[in-house]
């Protein structure tokens, strides 16, 4: 095989291994962050015993999940019972493969984009998938199967009801989610995530949220639809303990339950990444070109990743903050909110954005 192919394969394997490690560790520590932040909101400490500030708590939790007894009830539909958490986790991780974290980086003389599904073309520019955003939406739609099949294969009334409610909620809010992103698509003229971010270059004022397109309404619709998609408060009735025991993961124990758990937090990370890419300028710094370039090319390639991580951290904090503050919706309130309020509002946003673009183009 030629040198190029070998170098490409090595770079791809390194990127995948790095991303897997970072995402799984991030999910574990988002759980820690959630317990600490919600603890402080509720005027208590959260985990403090295991390690300094409770920082080793996720390690203890991971050990607990691995060492627990893995119970498979008798009358479950075995193949789907085992496959459902696999589908959930696989779908969450595939979404993260498509997300770009920055421009190209040159390590040991090899230039590669900071994205698992990106390649550097002959002039060194990073090239993305043409339909990146659509693939993320498609993969999210397929994620509904993890929940639906988990509840059904558990052969239990509570699990089935919880999974049906969760699937119906997910499908209803997918519409509002997709339509809220159409405004951003019209502004950037492309479904490729890199081109959407490049459209928002130039600092805070040029983001899609502000002068880049004033997509404030679309941003809030996206945020609410994404909260419903990830089954988080205020939309987490399918998982509420007081309602349906534990919803679709009632009959799951130890590692399979942990896979659902990690899938949920990985979905939160994906939502945060998408929100920063589409509305907050991605990896562009809010100061634009005001800061002088310092350090070598490696530092310059990694600073955008730092900005990206800060913005995603803000979204995760927002998720946790809202969880600690708001009560949850009742199921009929939830469904009517999605269909009767968010969907017409998203369509109105598309119409107004198109109208404004047509007028301003004259």
């Amino acid at each position: 095989m030629q040198n190029d192919v070998i170098a490409f394969l090595i770079a791809a394997i390194v990127k995948i291994a790095l991303m897997l490690f970072i995402i799984l560790t991030a999910c574990a520590y988002i759980v820690w962050l959630e317990r600490k932040v919600i603890g402080h909101i509720q005027n208590r400490w959260g985990p403090t015993r295991v390690g300094p500030f409770g920082l080793l708590q996720p390690a203890a939790d991971g050990l607990k999940f691995i060492l627990k007894e893995d119970v498979i009830p008798d009358n479950v539909y075995r193949t789907l019972y085992v496959a459902a958490p696999i589908i959930s986790l696989a779908v969450s991780l595939v979404s993260i493969c498509i997300i770009p974290f920055g421009d190209s980086i040159t390590v040991f003389g090899y230039t590669t984009p900071l994205q698992i599904t990106g390649i550097a073309n002959s002039s060194g520019m990073a090239v993305d998938i043409n339909i990146g955003l659509l693939i993320i939406l498609a993969v999210t739609s397929v994620g509904v199967y993890g929940i639906a099949l988990a509840g059904w294969s558990s052969n239990s009334k509570y699990a089935l009801l919880g999974s049906l409610r969760a699937s119906a909620q997910l499908m209803s809010y997918e519409l509002a989610l997709g339509l809220s992103l159409v405004g951003v698509l019209m502004l950037s003229g492309s479904l490729s995530l890199r081109q959407i971010v490049e459209h928002q270059q130039g600092g805070l004022w040029h983001w899609n949220l502000f002068n880049g397109g004033w997509q404030i309404v679309a941003f809030f619709i996206y945020l609410m639809a994404a909260y419903a998609e990830t089954n988080r408060i205020p939309f987490d009735l399918p998982e509420a303990e007081t309602e349906l025991v534990a919803g679709y993961h009632t009959e799951y124990s130890s590692m399979k339950f942990a896979m659902f758990f990690v899938a949920e937090y990985a979905n939160m990370v994906t939502v945060g990444c998408l929100a920063t890419l589409l509305f907050f300028g991605g990896w562009n710094s809010p100061f634009g070109d005001l800061l002088p370039a310092f350090g070598g090319p490696l530092v310059q390639a990694l600073i955008p990743v730092l900005w990206f991580a800060l913005k995603v951290f803000f979204f995760i904090f927002l998720y946790i903050w809202i969880r600690g503050t708001l009560p949850r919706f009742r199921y009929d309130q939830l469904m009517s909110f999605g269909w009767k309020f968010l969907l017409p509002l998203a369509i109105a946003n598309i119409v107004i954005t198109g109208f404004a673009m047509a007028l301003l183009h004259q």
Partner: protein, 165 residues
Amino acid sequence: MLHYILFFLFAAIALGGALNLLFQRHPINSALSLILVMMSLAVLYLLLGAEFVAAVQILVYAGAIMVLFVFVIMLLNAGEEERSRTSRVAYLAGVPGALAVLGLLLYSVFAHNSNFGSVQLGTYLVSTGALGGLLFRDFLLPFEITSVLILIAIMGAVVLGRRDS
């Protein structure tokens, strides 16, 4: 070369899924096989360069329509099918009929033998913008009529699903 490998692999998966759908007794297995067929069709669209259609195939077919099928199977608690006695006439007339149709299809496909393999991976690439331009300029009337048709279908579903009050 890669084009042939991908095409034959995913065509085989699509055919295998379709056959599995017919031969499975439990409806949930059939539904899952159909999802597999939809996904391999999406890959085949991608091989022809229709990237938007491939993504929308997964989004709509595999991610929404098939979820509906799975919902119905879950809600109606459909169990395994039992083997029943089929009628003799269906067996005597059906099998030769199906073979005749298959023969006709094979003939019409192999009559154009020389065109096989002429579209390679990367020959065409339909950008979403080009597709949108075509849909909203050249084919605007069929597009609008199709939307009205879908609206009528939705209204029909709402009327049928309404409770008699």
